[in-house]
Subunit: 167 residues, 2 copies
DNA sequence: TATTGTTATACTCTATAACTATA
DNA sequence: TATAGTTATAGAGTATAACAATA
């Protein structure tokens, strides 16, 4: 084959690929998310951080970093920005002066409620072609993928390429 | 609520969220992908570019950029790196000296075949908890999400935050 | 004029390594 | 010694703007 082709579609990596189907859906949902939230929205990782702090007030940065799957240094910047926006507070903990207790400010709670309303629209849009049953089924099937086993030594290998967990 | 909490889990953005379920599954599949491919693998975007060039030999950079959903300047770097690795060639087109005809080299074809074998393992791993029927169902449901309508003016708003399309 | 590819530049996000303070 | 947070630095990936060559 002198034209540089690799032959028929057998070698098309996108053909019958669950991984590709997930990635494509995720890219599209992010397009819808950004369009729904508007240009001034905080990033998905920040949204999730805000949501976790709201749901688990008092959590510290290390535990939050673990849940978001980012490193501690990366977490610092996220909290810095959320604090700079007046959405989150670092509060001193009486018993342990090494760490902070993270908490939402009043403005943070307002922002979270507003985000919750906007993400309801977003959720409706990305599921517009699904019945309620299909949507629930899709979520449960995705859960099964999300708990698939990572091969040995995977965390290390994947370390440099990880992505944050976002809505 | 003086502890900074936002109330009960109603405001947990990750609760009953299709968007979050998709993102979580995608993050996990990438962990498995990187672990399966090993540390020296080319990036998912490069893999997809290679696959598209293999399936559509002669495609030019602009058309490829469109399929990968990246800008032309970004495409230049991807092709530069694939050419630097000896996997892809820019060939002159007799009729139009503005653009190149992209084609795989022999090494590029070998690389693509090798990637195809590795991604088979990867696909098996991420689907390990699914039956064949569930896997097919999941893909078809994800397709419905991937074609969900982007709200008005979405492409512009999402432009600065887009991600590449990967396997 | 429109299209293709390129360069220059900058931004966001993430990581690793080394450090300080505290336990 | 171990843990929490921080700083400094670097790398990958993406974008926009401006430009040259060609159609």
């Amino acid at each position: 084959m002198s034209d540089g082709g690799a032959g028929p579609a057998e070698l098309d990596l996108r053909q019958d690929s669950l991984g590709y189907a997930i990635k494509r859906a995720q890219v599209r949902t992010y397009e819808v998310l950004f369009a729904t939230l508007g240009p001034d929205a905080i990033s998905p990782a920040r949204m999730t951080a805000l949501s976790i702090i709201g749901a688990q007030p008092g959590i510290n940065q290390s535990a939050l970093a673990e849940q978001l799957r980012v490193t501690r240094p990366s977490m610092v910047k996220v909290i810095d920005s959320l604090e700079g926006l007046g959405l989150v507070e670092r509060r001193a903990i009486p018993g342990d002066r090494r760490s902070y207790s993270l908490a939402l400010t009043e403005q943070g709670r307002r922002e979270l409620r507003d985000m919750h309303e906007k993400t309801r629209q977003y959720e409706a849009r990305i599921a517009e072609r699904l019945t309620a049953q299909e949507r629930a089924l899709l979520i449960s099937l995705l859960e099964k993928v999300a708990v698939s086993a990572v091969p040995p030594s995977a965390p290390e290998l994947a370390a440099g390429k990880a992505e944050d967990q976002g809505p």
